[in-house]
Subunit: 228 residues, 2 copies
């Protein structure tokens, strides 16, 4: 997956969580020829091993990783940052693992970073198919975000046109896994579980574990996830 | 300026920086009947006395203040957070005191807080007249942000319509000061200077000091600012 930096290569900021989707988005951005800069946010998530995974996948892709601390626990309102338990079975409606305005916040930090880098391209691994019901993973949200971003920055005033790339948005989890595997990703580096232990072992029962397992199964590929 | 909380009163998140504009926006939100929740971001700004001012104005208005730490110095790119000097004379173009994507980031944090509070209303004291050339103070930016916000959250899926209120957007600095004074604001509590000292005394020479001084002068009111 690692690539050499080429002269004149366009820069992109890639939001990397350490999960299956974002590492695939990163590999796709590199395959598209971008010089990538990974950005993770340490928002006080329960699954701290995500950040270790973000480091592993960035290293494997030979891209720099910036981790921004932003403690969203001060705002609360989610099972991923607050005191609500992560549910084992939640298939209807918007789950309690939804973090208020998370993608809006992440994209805004990526926007600032892109502007500083002189980049007009941001990649985010959102997915509208197996998206767990999060409102900020929908195509209409991304489109509205891009319109706003094109008015938000100094770059935009100077003629830049920020693009929010969502290469996974129309793919099933199985297709994401198949395409990522074809790009050489070792998914054992990634952590999807909402409550993985410190060693990155998945619980096997949360919503995210269920979607990941079904994805590998549908893709006809071996699931390399370590379960606790 | 302080008001009693009334039963059934609508909640609003108000971005409060401790400057002249945001305290006026807060007073206007209260005058409109909102139960206000002030939000400040400690983004590593040079003018730390801003945060003390935010506390003073929130206390005077009898509203709770939440200060979120988000160190934007890790991203860089501004005289307000980085190593660039604050200029004394900068009247053309976008100033180096512009913080990349600042209002986008602030509004996104306010959006998360509003969602947790069950509020559909955010106030921000941006101003397009004496706006120092910041792209994220323009009406078209705010309008695009609001469209995006209406697709971003759980609340929006459930029928909520987030409104970004910008009561100052069409006012001159003099009009802001006149209207705020009529609402009973004591502007000596506020700090506008980009490089105020720890006691909150203004430098008197930066862009923000110049705009503030001209505003009081045009309003025909005494400038209560303490200069160093």
């Amino acid at each position: 997956m690692a690539e050499q930096k080429k002269a004149g290569q366009k820069k992109a900021v890639v939001l990397v969580s350490g999960g299956l989707d974002s590492v695939t988005a990163l590999a796709m951005a590199q395959a598209d020829g971008f010089e990538c800069f990974a950005l993770s946010v340490d928002y006080g998530q329960r699954h701290r091993s995500e950040l270790d995974a973000a480091k592993r996948v960035s290293d494997a892709a030979a891209v720099p990783l910036k981790i921004l601390p932003l403690d969203l626990r001060a705002i609360g309102g989610s099972a991923l940052t607050g005191d609500i338990d992560v549910p084992e079975d939640e298939t209807n409606g918007i789950p309690v693992t939804y973090v208020p305005a998370r993608n809006t916040i992440m994209l805004s930090l990526a926007l600032a970073y892109a502007e500083v880098l002189g980049s007009d391209d941001i990649f985010i691994g959102v997915n509208a198919v197996d998206y767990s019901g999060y409102p900020d993973c929908r195509p209409e949200f991304i489109e509205a975000y891009q319109s706003m971003a094109r008015l938000a920055t100094k770059t935009s005033v100077e003629g830049g046109k920020m693009t929010i790339h969502t290469p996974l948005i129309d793919l099933t989890k199985a297709e994401i896994i198949q395409q990522g595997t074809a790009l050489g990703i070792d998914y054992s580096m990634t952590v999807s579980c909402y409550q993985a232990d410190d060693a990155g072992r998945a619980c096997g029962v949360c919503d995210s574990c269920r979607i990941r397992r079904e994805g590998f199964s549908a893709a006809g590929l071996t699931d390399p996830t370590l379960y606790s």
